[in-house]
Symmetry: C2
Subunit: 555 residues, 2 copies
């Protein structure tokens, strides 16, 4: 059966029953239909003195077209922990609406390790992204309105980095001229739209600890500069209060369930390139207060996703992850070993062994943060025993362990071994998490640290303009921020075609941006697209409600 067929057969329990598993009283679950709910702010506040559960990060090798199944493994591990008697919850990101109309929408997980309701999660869900779009665009409207009515703040209309957003793949909006039409409409200027997940408001919502922190960070957004290059903040436009009101409900984490009726928090979804790519801090900290084990995931491969999870999210939210699961597949190891996608069905132990270099470097990297790692081999039916054994042997030689997982086919029964391994790591108390670099390291050194220790580059290339910009931000008091790397997810290098574990490369920095509200410096290495387009034949063309009232074409 396909993912969607399995999801449609799910025997969902009322969301109140799922909440009850975590001790959330019905009155503190704000329902959205019968299978989704938000956890109330008041209830979250009441948990402050609860002990925290154990935090587990699921990350992966560099993604390949073969697919790794990171979310599937997150779901499977959560179900596996519940199956072996632990009180566990998972925390994952929300899906973006727009891209579903280009390529088919994604399941949250796959096979018998999925989160439901799948349709809602690929459509409006609980409206969080719409709220983010509205809050973001309110600030943009107030900005142009301020200029229209006399521009008291003296904004230079050529220096307005703040764009508008829409949760849609719409390349027509990438570059626009607005305020046309004469005196009644404003002062024409160039600007454009990003997709909502690329909004700084999204990153802020995912890093804010509560509504007050949210409001403060929204106020910190730099919307424009004056001719003297001094920044104009959202606070200067008095937009922070109304933006917070628009986001009040969106700040409450969403609770849904896995196919095995275990609790799943699905909340927030910042880009994994120009932002940090993890679900919200509020969801993770709430889950930690309610469950003994919390399994979460980070975007892309471990070089980007885990590094940002550790250096941005954990650093800022004071989280202490105790184990990392690195997802790998035989097929992806083969691709890293040079096999073409068409040939993945043929046994090739040598290629698996060769490709393991990529996995090995991720294992080493994760250990640099002081967190023990276990490898989850996400099983595909075409995998041979010899290929699986090759990964196990390799990982063993690196001082870690690889566990074969069959959650796609068997749900929690396929991840009980992994769950037990994770519990044994946690119970060993061996984790000693620390970020890769200290807050007070100069910004350029932070970039170099990541480039050399994680990507294994020899050097960082950046022209004087970029280095001067970093120095200027340090002088303005932003030197203590972490850096948020935006580079291809397909390679440790900036060249998406260089698989494996390349050495002797350099990291060219093309641009740096200050996300003062989110609280990081974005370091752009290569082309980063913040407004996708639709393909020649968008999936939207075949999406419709069929005669049985079910949605066709979305998956």
């Amino acid at each position: 059966m396909s993912d969607i067929e399995i999801a449609r057969k799910a025997k969902k329990k009322p969301i109140q029953e799922i909440g009850a598993k975590l001790g959330i009283p019905t009155e503190h679950l704000l329902p959205f239909g019968h299978d989704k709910a938000k956890v109330s702010e008041a209830f979250i506040k009441s948990l402050a003195k609860n002990k925290n559960g154990h935090l587990i990060l699921v990350t992966a090798i560099n993604p390949t077209p073969a697919g790794e199944g990171k979310t599937t493994t997150t779901v499977g591990l959560g179900d596996g922990l519940n199956a072996i008697g632990k009180k566990a919850a998972i925390c994952i990101r929300e899906a973006s609406l727009g891209p579903n109309f280009g390529m088919k929408g994604g399941a949250a997980g796959g096979g018998y390790a999925q989160v439901v309701p799948m349709e809602d999660m690929n459509l409006h869900f609980t409206g969080d992204f719409h709220a983010i779009t509205a809050a973001h665009n309110l600030l943009a409207a107030m900005l142009d309105n301020h200029i229209y009515w006399g521009n008291e703040l003296d904004i230079d209309i050529r220096r307005i980095p703040y764009r508008r957003v829409m949760d849609m793949n719409d390349r027509a909006l990438r570059e626009t001229v607005v305020n046309l039409g004469g005196v009644a409409n404003g002062f024409p200027r160039e600007t454009g739209f990003d997709i909502t997940v690329a909004s700084e408001v999204m990153a802020i919502l995912c890093l804010a600890t509560d509504l007050r922190d949210l409001e403060k960070r929204l106020g910190d957004i730099i919307v424009a500069y004056r001719r003297d290059r001094s920044p104009v903040y959202a606070r200067d436009l008095k937009a922070d209060g109304a933006m917070t009101v628009l986001l009040q409900q969106a700040m409450q984490p969403n609770l849904v369930q896995t196919l095995e009726n275990n609790p799943a928090f699905v909340h927030g979804g910042p880009f994994a390139n120009i932002a940090h790519g993890c679900n919200s801090v509020v969801a993770t900290t709430t889950a930690l207060k309610l469950a003994d084990y919390v399994v979460t995931e980070a975007g892309f491969g471990a070089d980007l996703g885990a590094e940002k999870f550790f250096d941005i999210k954990c650093r800022k939210a004071g989280l202490k992850p105790e184990a990392v699961v690195i997802v790998a597949t035989v097929r992806a190891m083969k691709m890293n070993g040079g096999v073409a996608k068409a040939d993945l069905g043929t046994e090739n132990v040598a290629a698996v062994k060769k490709g393991c270099a990529n996995l090995g470097q991720h294992i080493e990297n994760v250990k640099q943060f002081g967190v023990p790692a276990v490898v989850a081999i996400n099983h595909f039916v075409s995998d041979t025993d010899a290929e699986v054994q090759a990964i196990k042997d390799y990982v063993g030689s690196q001082g870690s362990e690889a566990v074969l997982c069959k959650h796609w086919a068997h749900g929690s029964k396929g991840t009980e071994d992994l769950a037990r391994k994770v519990v044994s790591i946690v119970e060993s108390g061996s984790a000693q998490f620390a970020p890769l670099y200290l807050d007070d390291m100069p910004l350029f050194e932070k970039i170099e640290t990541i480039a050399k220790r994680i990507y294994r580059a020899d050097e960082v290339l950046a022209d004087k303009k970029i280095r001067d910009q970093l120095k200027q931000w340090e002088e303005q008091g932003y030197g203590n921020l972490p850096v948020c790397m935006a580079k291809t997810q397909y390679s440790f290098t900036t060249d998406p075609n260089r698989r494996g574990a390349p050495r002797g490369h350099s990291l060219p920095v093309r641009e740096v941006r200050l996300s003062a509200g989110a609280g990081f410096i974005v370091v752009i290495c290569g082309e980063i697209m913040t407004m996708p387009g639709l393909p020649r034949v968008p999936s939207a063309e075949s999406i419709r409600i069929n005669r049985d009232g079910l949605i066709d074409g979305l998956f």
Copy 2:
């Protein structure tokens, strides 16, 4: 106490209890929090054979700055009918998000005749408008994407009437150039954004009878023309199915409650100028299947709102209204009689009498549709007995009755007389509703009929281009559509300053537009703004969550 103070003290019942009053089983109420729910499509389908209740329209004189209280009276009458033992529900429109950040947001009703939860209704509510924004903009993205990938449909990029929408007052987006940035981004062209309530998708959602009808109407939207002037439809871009999927949940009517815990359907909110300005057909027809009395309202004054309610909504949905309540106030009669707003506190019986001409023409007009009318005098504390009596005497002289209503101060106790009067009209069986004109009347004659019989104009002025356009649409098969008049709401004429009941004027038609999906011809008489701007000091600047966790500044 202010409206917001009264609303905050409301003793809301769980929405399931409100639904139970109408016989809606809990499983067919899709909850949004504890005080809002959507009524399931399956349940609505199951009602097909139920007998319909009685439909009452609340409309008003031409609005004045003094305020008439049309929604307040709709709420009050609904509560009044329930108070005298009738099973009654009200149907009103949803509020638009964007304008709340310019001027203060509105209560739904006022005083002790309100619908709650007020905050939600002025913010994201159940996400319907966000869904409409997404569906609208998906079609726009698919349109530009089609051109980008080769323009097989041969669209003339200079002839694209379909714009984008945003639920925000953002004048910067009124006129834009998109697709800038070179080959990768598309073919530059002029376009712009309207506010979401002005979307044809909004009008369609409010007129569609079910999901199939919705999909058909969405497919009928004309997005562009070819060089030979032949239309390109949303259906040609294969966008109708995915738009319907985005709107599936939004099509389900929302149930909330009045301060007296009576059921209120709040669903849809098309512009009252370029669209028909009523809540959704689905909400009204559902309410009619569940309640014995359904009180609904139409936008603006009766010349625009009631006329469109009758000639567009009732005609298309086969509704048979049985009574009309025309709301008037002493203060508004005085303004129509020439008194300035500052002098409204002083008794002025002569001015009241003079201003009654406006009311009288609306009474006459409503009767032309075969529906009996009663006047509700919405009481203000400053009204004197002599002024109230002057209205009563005038209305009596017109063969109708005026009933003094004190729902603002006393809730249902203040409208029991009105409720009894409405019941007696309905039970008399005297209504014989018919639209003002037949479907097969030529389009220009339809405009003339409304202009002469409703506005009392002597003539319609339209240049040859407009008349030719109407003829062309008749040849293309659109001649049977009703016309949707877009003119100022402040006067029977196109001059907003001409109060009372002016004669001897003419109606200049500036532009005509075809809303082929919604199913009407928009006739624009005067300046119509479809994207508002923010004022110099937007209310957003003072909106914030206060120390008690309540929202300040929104009302």
